[in-house]
């Protein structure tokens, strides 16, 4: 399969649990043992209380579409995903926001609304890398 986008390389050590989880179809989030908040992206310090006690927990995979953009031009030659595609900022149920793509939806502004409930879809690209993409939640009342 020809890859449609550049992949993370090398995988930074502090993000390893994230990528390992995705391989097993689990969306893992780093969080703080001291203040209890989840955050993203993975790092060794809690951005809220600056504790170094970081724990990993499995996210529900549900969230809401915080913001989106429908791209009609690819952002660079390395990205060969066929446009139009939807660039999406997802706000997870657990709080953190992450950049992803909204898939399995018509790339049409009439079909996509901010705050619409979404759920994770795991897209396996290589033996090492599986990406968390998102689609409109199938069950009503998904998300928060």
């Amino acid at each position: 399969m020809e890859l449609e986008r550049p992949l993370p390389h090398p995988i930074t050590p502090e993000a390893r649990p994230y990528w390992e989880g995705l391989r097993e179809h689990r969306l893992m989030l780093p969080g703080c043992l001291d203040c209890g908040r989840s955050f993203f992206y993975p790092r060794i310090v809690c951005p809220y209380c600056h504790s170094r006690q970081i724990v990993w927990t499995q996210a529900s995979g549900r969230g809401r579409l915080h913001a989106f953009e429908i791209a009609y031009q690819p952002m660079g030659r390395a990205f060969t995903v066929k446009p139009p595609y939807v660039l999406a900022m997802i706000e997870l149920e657990e709080g953190p926001r992450m950049m992803s793509n909204l898939i399995n939806v018509e790339p049409d502004p009439r079909a996509i609304r901010c705050d619409m409930p979404v759920e994770v879809v795991f897209e396996r690209l290589t033996d090492e890398i599986t990406l968390p993409l998102f689609q409109p939640a199938r069950a009503a009342g998904g998300g928060r």
Partner: protein
């Protein structure tokens, strides 16, 4: 005696948890370790830090974002090994930040 008003003053110094070739740590992790250690050494909280100076791969904006702080003043000027002296002296002549974190070049194979 020279007055300390409007002058730069080093109040805490530290380094990353480990020194050497550290393939199990990213450069950002080493930066974050050094900054959190130095802030602890100074007896400050991270929320007290309102300036960030870096010289190297990471911009002060990236470091501020990773730390979850919003500094009033940032400087990422890198002119080689004397970068830290320059940023320190620029702080003394034009004080913009009351507590600044200065993160040095950290080397690792990520």
């Amino acid at each position: 005696m020279r007055a300390l008003s409007n002058a730069a003053c080093i109040v805490g110094v530290d380094e990353s948890d480990e020194i050497g070739t550290l393939p199990h740590k990213s450069q950002l992790s080493l930066h974050l370790e050094a900054v959190t250690n130095a802030v602890r050494d100074a007896g400050l909280r991270m929320a007290d830090v309102d300036g960030i100076f870096t010289a190297g791969q990471h911009s002060p904006a990236l470091l501020g974002e990773a730390l979850g702080i919003t500094p009033r003043y940032v400087d990422g000027t890198s002119v080689g090994g004397c970068s830290f002296i320059i940023t320190a002296s620029s702080r003394s002549s034009r004080p913009r930040a009351s507590s600044a974190a200065s993160a040095g070049p950290a080397r690792s194979r990520p």
